[in-house]
Symmetry: C2
Subunit: 363 residues, 2 copies
Amino acid sequence: MDDRKILNPWGEDLIEDYKRLIKKFGISDFKEIKPYYPNPNHLIRRDIVFGHRGFKLVLNSIIKKQKFNVLSGIKPSGPFHLGTLTTAWEIVDFQKQGGNTFYCIADVEAYEDNGIPIKDSFETAVDNVADILALGLDYKKAYIYRQSSEYRVKDLAIEFSRGVTLNMLKAIYGLREFGLYISAMIQVGDILLPQLEDFGGPAPTVIPVGVDQDPHIRLTRDIAKKFKKYNFVPPAATYHKLMRGLDGSDKMSKRNPMSYFTLNEDPQSIRKKIMNAFTGGRNSAAEQRELGGQPHRCNIYDLYKFHFILDDNELKKIYQECINGDILCGECKKIAIDKILNFIEKHNKKKEKFIDIAREILK
Amino acid sequence: MDDRKILNPWGEDLIEDYKRLIKKFGISDFKEIKPYYPNPNHLIRRDIVFGHRGFKLVLNSIIKKQKFNVLSGIKPSGPFHLGTLTTAWEIVDFQKQGGNTFYCIADVEAYEDNGIPIKDSFETAVDNVADILALGLDYKKAYIYRQSSEYRVKDLAIEFSRGVTLNMLKAIYGLREFGLYISAMIQVGDILLPQLEDFGGPAPTVIPVGVDQDPHIRLTRDIAKKFKKYNFVPPAATYHKLMRGLDGSDKMSKRNPMSYFTLNEDPQSIRKKIMNAFTGGRNSAAEQRELGGQPHRCNIYDLYKFHFILDDNELKKIYQECINGDILCGECKKIAIDKILNFIEKHNKKKEKFIDIAREILK
């Protein structure tokens, strides 16, 4: 398989071998710096965050309590789902670690990539922002903006256009359409926005992303170095693993609704998807009691690990029960359903209070 | 020669055979509508305006005194020169004919095409605007703007990016760099700006341009038809011939300073360029007295025809004297120098008064 295709932020291809990605694209191994990370969150502790680029500078700022920025965002093309939830944990945590926080509603991207007119994505954006606030982002200490109304981002995109060639874009993204290249340039604008003088000038900045977003990071680091007048610190990234499809497919995908669920989904639908989920179970109950389950192959276990069991001891306990064959998949799925529906119920209660605030922020 | 290369708005190639252009690119012959044009200016009367696209709608508005727009602009990469002067006559005249007038300072283009940072082109833009005002544009009835501060133009450019493919851009412009394609999209934004609701909505619009700008017009008309929600009237264009280089080169070019002069130039320098200009003279005075001169080959005659003799009778008189051999090139050049330096002196006096106004407009 063409490696360039693997790292595809527009999401058609499979992410499989993280070690190979580290080697092939020069992504740094997160394990080397993990011991120095103060109060690592569950994603770091569990090696879901597996790689980085240039993160040492940011880590240094965290340790020394010096200034750094964190930027993340969401494409308002649908409700918060299990994938966006991973990034959400990260930005909320980086904010707690002291990062100046930027949250971008990528509505220009939703238009260029998915053809959703800016006006139509507004209500989705309101919903998405209410989600991230309910998940713990402190909006009073964050700059939350829509790409379509942030002229500095568009101006940067236009300015940086002179610094890239079609060959560069083709090498990084493959042969894409013009609108998608524009969309990429807009993302570069987003990623460098926090370092403009308006926001206090150059500073270490981290972008927590799924590894499929690495092309944007590489392009942005290239451009940051090229436009010397800004004195940008080349932005850093942390890379997390991507969840597999619940139904046993390689990847969660909108084209395949059984592969994932959203935070807005009807509980009955979520229940059904979890009951149907592909696990690491054996051929028979007897076999499983004898050999134990296989959590490393199990999508239910991934749900716990990524999102729904934040306590390591609790996670270890269930892991142990699984590999010992003490708990079978049906029972485990019921536990998962309880935990998840409970999480979503609580989340939605918190979220309600943030809808009006979110609309106000995005106006 | 590749025809696509001929119509090159970024200006490296030769424009020679206008009839062929009309045929090849489906440009309409202006002669067919010329008889219906009320009070045609000298450029129309002299067939310097030789072609058009979709101009009948605009002509109809002129005749019936109905609403229409005219948009033109300048790239602030240097002083007003003989080429920009042609377009200037046209926009001033369309404004007199009743057109809602838009004048664009293409500073994003000056950046993308020529690498001139927006800040650095500001003073040039002030100077350019003072020129067009001194030439008769009524700024009180015109919308004069810089691309870099007109967010609607950039927003349109980004929106329209989804309507074009790299193949379309390649077919229209040839294989260019990414920044130049961005620049083209920005021009499309400019050309459609007058038809936004903010400016009164869809209306016939004419862009008077040199024929080398036809690619932008074709691209814009394509896009206007594609984005139906705006109900754009596909913008019309009038096409004027381009002046040859004074020194006998095919084309005026910045790379060849002897081929043209600017309105800011030192009179001694202009005098020298005219004295050195390539004319339609014969090998000897005797031969010229016998055979007469060849005004259709003469750059001095072109200076009269395009810019410096607006009265047709006066132009005919000098034409007659030339082909009769009654006037030789040396004498004619002296007349030209007097006329041109006199024009520039008067122009600069008028222009002085407009510098502060221009700066105010562009702030």
